[in-house]
């Protein structure tokens, strides 16, 4: 089904398309520019120029590595929630809170009504797409995650905050599609945290994606999937981007029990380890997944955004992703993978 949607959109991809999830590490020159900007040593426009250079560098690098669907690497974003909060009315910046170990992020505060405003990422997507003939994904943070990862001092309930944010994210998705974007990813890593709110997340996603002419992906990670599967398949997207390496493919038994009915972006390298998995490890993980998932429905990528890794580690991990996909793609129709009807009930 999703292949036909891609065809309708005139997106031609090989078997086992490869992609990065979204964020990529900022090159040294950009880190220096950000530090210089924070100290007031360079102008806003000079920082923009450094961000554009970094996007261009990563587009070239992804092409060189052989990825099929590219990302802009989020060189201009601080954090997946804070970035959108900075550009939406109703938010104020919050202080740092820890996400894990020695990692921290700025958690914004909803202090007023969220009203959709000017496009946020459209110009950046257009810039990145203008640099390459390969499709570039638009990557947005979803309404449920924007709500769950912000403090709420304004809306009377989580639901009201989430639905207000859904309208804002829809407007941004419309902007991307209007600019020519055909593959839009709506990141919802928070969805798996509260199974009792899955219906709300589905309702919000419907507001974002319904009747829009694009192939939609959602990225979900690090949560209690057993509690939300298979109901999560009701999310209005074509492809689920899941972390299969960190979870040691723990989802596959669920997929054996209840077939996965949509496309999947299958994480074959862990993003929270400095250890770089070689192509053989990535290929083995992918092969394991293909014992359960139909070849034509699988994309291949890292578990999650790579921004916490060094540039060298990220490149090496992406190389493993591409080589694993190419190795198994080469088997073509000879690889023994199940079709939908081969699943046992």
């Amino acid at each position: 089904m999703s292949r036909s949607k891609l065809s309708e959109l005139r997106v031609d991809l090989p078997l086992l398309p490869t992609t990065a999830v979204g964020s990529l590490p900022k090159p040294e020159a950009l880190l220096k520019a950000r530090a210089d900007f924070a100290r007031g040593n360079i102008s806003h426009e000079e920082l923009r120029e450094a961000e554009r250079a970094a996007v261009k560098w990563w587009i070239r690098k992804q092409e060189e590595l052989g990825l099929d669907v590219l990302v802009d690497g989020e060189m201009y974003r601080s954090d997946m929630v804070a970035y959108f909060a900075e550009h939406l009315s109703g938010f104020e910046g919050g202080g740092l809170v820890r996400s894990y170990g020695n990692r921290y992020y700025h958690k914004p505060i909803i202090v007023g009504e969220v009203i959709p405003g000017d496009p946020i990422t459209v110009e950046w997507w257009s810039y990145a797409q203008g640099l390459t003939a390969r499709p570039v994904k638009g990557v947005l943070t979803g309404p449920y995650t924007l709500m769950d990862w912000s403090f709420n001092e304004f809306y009377p309930s989580r639901r009201e905050a989430c639905l207000a944010l859904a309208a804002a994210v829809r407007q941004e998705a419309e902007g991307l599609i209007g600019a020519g974007c055909k593959i839009v990813q709506i990141d919802e890593p928070a969805i798996s945290a509260r199974p009792e709110e899955l219906a709300l997340a589905i309702e919000a996603m419907k507001i974002v994606t319904s009747d829009l002419p694009a192939y939609f992906i959602t990225h979900i990670c690090y949560g209690d999937f057993e509690s939300i599967y298979p109901k999560m398949l009701d999310l209005g997207v074509d492809n689920f981007d899941l972390e299969m390496s960190n979870s040691r493919a723990g989802l596959l038994p669920l997929f054996r029990k209840t077939p996965f009915t949509k496309d999947i972006s299958y994480g074959v390298v862990d993003v929270h380890s400095h250890l770089v998995e070689g192509p053989a490890v990535a290929e083995e993980r992918l092969r394991h997944g293909l014992e359960v998932l139909p070849l034509q429905n699988v994309w291949v990528d890292p578990d999650c955004g790579l921004k916490t890794r060094t540039v060298e580690e990220a490149i090496a991990k992406l190389k493993s992703v591409v080589q694993a996909a190419k190795a198994l793609r080469g088997y073509g129709g000879q690889i023994s993978t199940p079709t939908r009807s081969s699943f046992s009930p």
Binding site: G95, L96, R98, S99, N102, S192, A193
Partner: protein
């Protein structure tokens, strides 16, 4: 009836000032090989002092060391036990905070102290009493995976309980007057209450003269409140943010134990209305038979930015004054 304020457990280990960001910086430098383990310890010490200072300035009666040295509430304890390795990242309940999941590969044995040195370090530097906090055996077990599948759930829980009981004995003999055992997983699994109670019993048998508090959070405690009253602890620290019915249940059932009223939301920056919160607590206090109770936040303050955590602590002190009829 005595009413004391207490810090729940963790405190932000980062803030806006250079001092408050020193630990993050030092760990990053350590990861690059530019700093030693001793440098990291020194940065941790400094941040523990800052956490104690924040709590003292806010007027809190019973402090914690902020769990500043902890990477997360699970691996900090489980990772020091023999038979347990730490594995991939997993979300900590419904927060946006991640812990390293314990991978149990053999019999759980304690071969080194877990947190007693941290407790002593902070207690010796604080004018106010310091409360050590451990994550409980039921929660550690429910967040662990077994490599070979050989350990059953009961064995896993009791394995962790044995190790924690030994640590609680050390903490008590080191001068801890109040020791808190955190069991956020417990209210989510009411069927396992008897098992968890047995594990807590093992810990309670080693507590000496210390007061033992059981803290449950991140789930509705109202439905298990009556069963919690049967646990072998002197105090129940409860999260009121998930439980609209909990005040009514306490008013109806009463309490033979001290209650830690976790009424201020440790996960949202919004400051609660004092008047209605105070009235609700007063109604519940009338039904508490213990001579002492506590005011606290719903959970660790680590989920808030440091400036907001400070405000919550001050709000807690001011709430206490409202209840006691003192001028704020």
């Amino acid at each position: 009836m005595e009413l004391l304020t207490l810090t729940h457990s963790g405190y932000p280990r980062i803030g806006d000032s250079a001092d408050e960001q020193a630990l993050r910086r030092t760990i990053a430098q350590h990861d690059r090989g530019e700093r030693t383990d001793a440098d990291v310890r020194a940065a941790e010490n400094q941040l523990v002092l800052l956490a104690l200072e924040d709590q003292q300035k806010a007027g809190i009666d019973i402090l914690t060391d902020g769990q500043i040295r902890w990477n997360d509430p699970v691996s900090h304890l489980a990772g020091k036990l023999q038979g347990v390795h730490t594995n991939g990242l997993l979300r900590f309940f419904d927060t946006n905070f991640y812990f390293r999941q314990p991978l149990v590969r053999g019999r759980i044995e304690q071969t080194q102290p877990l947190i007693v040195e941290e407790f002593q370090w902070a207690a010796h530097r604080s004018i106010q009493p310091v409360k050590p906090v451990v994550t409980g055996p039921y929660t550690l077990a429910s967040l662990s995976i077994c490599d070979n599948g050989s350990a059953n759930k009961d064995g896993l829980i009791m394995g962790y309980a044995q190790a924690l009981a030994a640590e609680v004995a050390r903490l008590a003999s080191s001068g801890a007057k109040l020791i808190q055992v955190d069991e956020p997983a417990l209210p989510r699994h009411p069927r396992d209450m008897a098992l968890a109670r047995e594990a807590l019993g093992l810990i309670a048998s080693r507590k000496g003269q210390a007061e033992l508090a059981l803290a449950v959070y991140f789930a509705d405690a109202a439905s298990v409140y009556v069963e919690l009253q049967a646990f072998p602890v002197q105090t129940l620290v409860l999260d009121f943010t998930y439980s609209p019915e909990l005040p009514h249940v306490i008013e109806k059932e009463g309490s033979t134990k001290a209650i830690g009223f976790g009424v201020l939301d440790g996960r949202n920056t919004r400051l609660e209305d004092h008047a209605s919160t105070a009235r609700s607590i007063e109604r519940m206090l009338a039904r508490v038979e213990a001579e002492r109770s506590y005011l606290t936040t719903s959970c660790s303050l680590e989920y808030l930015p440091r400036d907001r955590a400070r405000l919550k602590l001050r709000h807690l002190t001011s709430l206490k004054k409202s209840i006691l009829g003192e001028a704020p």
